[in-house]
């Protein structure tokens, strides 16, 4: 019943997502160019830092780092935009009835759109490094799709929890900071001691990034077991997250 309405109003998801992006770059001289320039500059800085100051033995390290950062950025943005998505649209939600799912879902789409731009930047870097990707890179969209579902599973509950408890945003900010270091973005997970690997194994982003790195750079596909594990955990997180959302979202508009 609710999902039917969500389907009928699905075009709003896209409108919210793109209007967020448009407003992000309003009044700037370069305007839309910033969607490319921002990741390009950021990635350039990180590249200089990580290749000159911290020497790495990882093969194709610049591209390894870039891909990891891009995938991680999507996760960070999607969840953090979603965190405030319902709060920041309080004006609409208290006046017009639209499904409460729409703001957090559109936040996830905003992060997906930004990832698309950054992937174009990644393509430019691949050309610049004269890197010809293996055929297995074609599974990258599937891996991104999996990450998208993971983001949804976290974005939905965060958007309503942040209304009941305004400090959720600070807690989530800390988790994101920690997550950056316990996710193999600028290192390989194998360099960590085995027991540490076991402790941080709950982090679903580890496998997603491993899949992406292996498929896009080294021509290695994940094993069936790894795929089943990761897809299973991702959908479990989504199910729990959506459950929390449904439980809390009924009365959330009154709290705005």
């Amino acid at each position: 019943m609710i999902s039917k309405e969500l389907w009928r109003k699905r075009s709003l998801i896209w409108d919210f997502a793109t209007s967020d992006l448009k407003i992000r770059y309003r009044n700037s001289v370069l305007g839309f160019v910033w969607t490319f320039l921002e990741p390009l500059l950021l990635l350039a800085v990180l590249y200089v830092v990580f290749t000159n100051i911290i020497k790495s033995s990882i093969e194709f390290f610049p591209l390894y780092l870039l891909l990891g950062l891009i995938m991680w950025n999507m996760f960070t943005r999607g969840t953090q935009i979603a965190l405030n998505s319902i709060l920041s649209r309080a004006g609409v939600l208290t006046q017009i009835h639209i499904p409460n799912e729409i703001p957090p879902i559109s936040a996830a789409f905003t992060s997906l759109i930004m990832l698309t731009f950054e992937m174009i930047v990644f393509g430019i870097f691949m050309i610049a490094f004269q890197f010809s990707p293996p055929q297995t890179i074609i599974v990258l969209p599937l891996i991104i799709g999996l990450e998208f579902i993971l983001i949804l599973g976290i974005a939905l509950p965060l958007s309503v929890l942040n209304i009941r408890f305004r400090d959720v945003q600070f807690i989530w900010g800390v988790i994101i900071q920690v997550g950056f270091f316990i996710t193999p973005i600028f290192y390989k997970i194998q360099i960590l001691p085995p027991n540490v690997q076991k402790i941080i194994a709950f982090n679903p982003m580890i496998n997603i990034l491993n899949f992406a790195h292996n498929a896009a750079l080294y021509g290695v596909l994940p094993t069936t077991k790894e795929v089943i594990m990761t897809v299973g955990i991702t959908f479990l997180i989504f199910a729990i997250g959506y459950g929390i959302f449904r439980k809390l979202s009924n009365k959330i508009i009154e709290e705005l």
């Binding site: 609409v92 017009i96 305004r166």
Partner: protein, 247 residues
């Protein structure tokens, strides 16, 4: 005329009035050990039942804070009732606050499109209607101006013009007839009368008793979460004015 479009049955709605709002995880945890009650329940609507018939204009009067807007929000599906049920047959549009969802950084034109879609238009339909809407609002010259440069009257006119184009079967109105200058007010008034002529149902919350007397078929006086009087507009207006004159 007797087909029922909104059926409100035994609806009760409570709100929490917080003495101290526990908004952080820390406060909730400490509050768990400190059982002092930090809110009280306020019954905004207490077992309300009524219906609105097709083609009818139904007025609601009452003092401030007596649950009129809450009732409209329940009918619009924005709030959910604590108990009881609300049945709505037909598309419904709430005119609660005009221009909800307007982005001041975007142009009038793109805001019309976004707002129209929020109100339930399809993308194709709103794009066909956008010129008509801007013409109705008399804002042709400003269609590519960002909304932050609009006066509040222009803003309201744009929102109102978009909303009336939706052509719903049921309209919920919360004090929005007095938008814009006198010329535009007349235009909006005429629009609503034409809605009524075309058999649309209108629920009107207002403090303007003349509007109730002249336009409504039935009315209701809502007081302390209960229906004080319901029926003929004149009877309801008398009850409402008597309530204020007698201590």
């Amino acid at each position: 005329m007797s087909e029922i479009v909104i059926n409100v049955k035994n609806v009760t709605k409570d709100f929490r009035i917080y003495h101290e709002k526990r908004n952080s995880v820390y406060e909730v945890i400490t509050g768990y050990f400190n059982k002092r009650k930090y809110y009280e329940r306020l019954r905004v609507l207490d077992n309300i039942s009524f219906d609105v018939k097709k083609g009818e204009m139904f007025g609601i009067v009452g003092r401030n804070g007596m649950g009129k807007t809450t009732l409209l929000r329940l009918m619009a599906g924005i709030y959910k009732p604590d108990s009881g049920s609300i049945e709505v047959n037909g598309s419904i549009i709430p005119f609660l606050g005009l221009g909800a969802g307007f982005q001041v950084e975007m142009t009038a034109r793109s805001n019309v499109i976004l707002y129209g879609k929020l109100l339930g238009f399809s993308k194709k339909k709103i794009k066909e209607k956008v010129d008509e809407i801007i013409k109705f609002a008399e804002l042709e010259k400003f269609q590519d101006t960002k909304l932050k440069n609009f006066s509040s009257g222009m803003y309201a006119r744009l929102a109102f013009s978009t909303a009336v184009q939706v052509d719903p079967e049921i309209i919920l109105m919360d004090e929005v007839l007095s938008v814009g200058d006198i010329g535009f007010q007349k235009k909006s008034h005429d629009t609503f009368l034409s809605f009524k002529k075309r058999g649309k149902s209108i629920v009107l919350v207002t403090h303007d008793l003349n509007a109730i007397r002249d336009n409504c078929d039935r009315a209701m006086f809502l007081n302390n979460g209960k229906i004080h009087t319901m029926g003929e507009p004149q009877k309801v207006i008398d009850a409402y004015t008597n309530y204020f004159s007698s201590p």
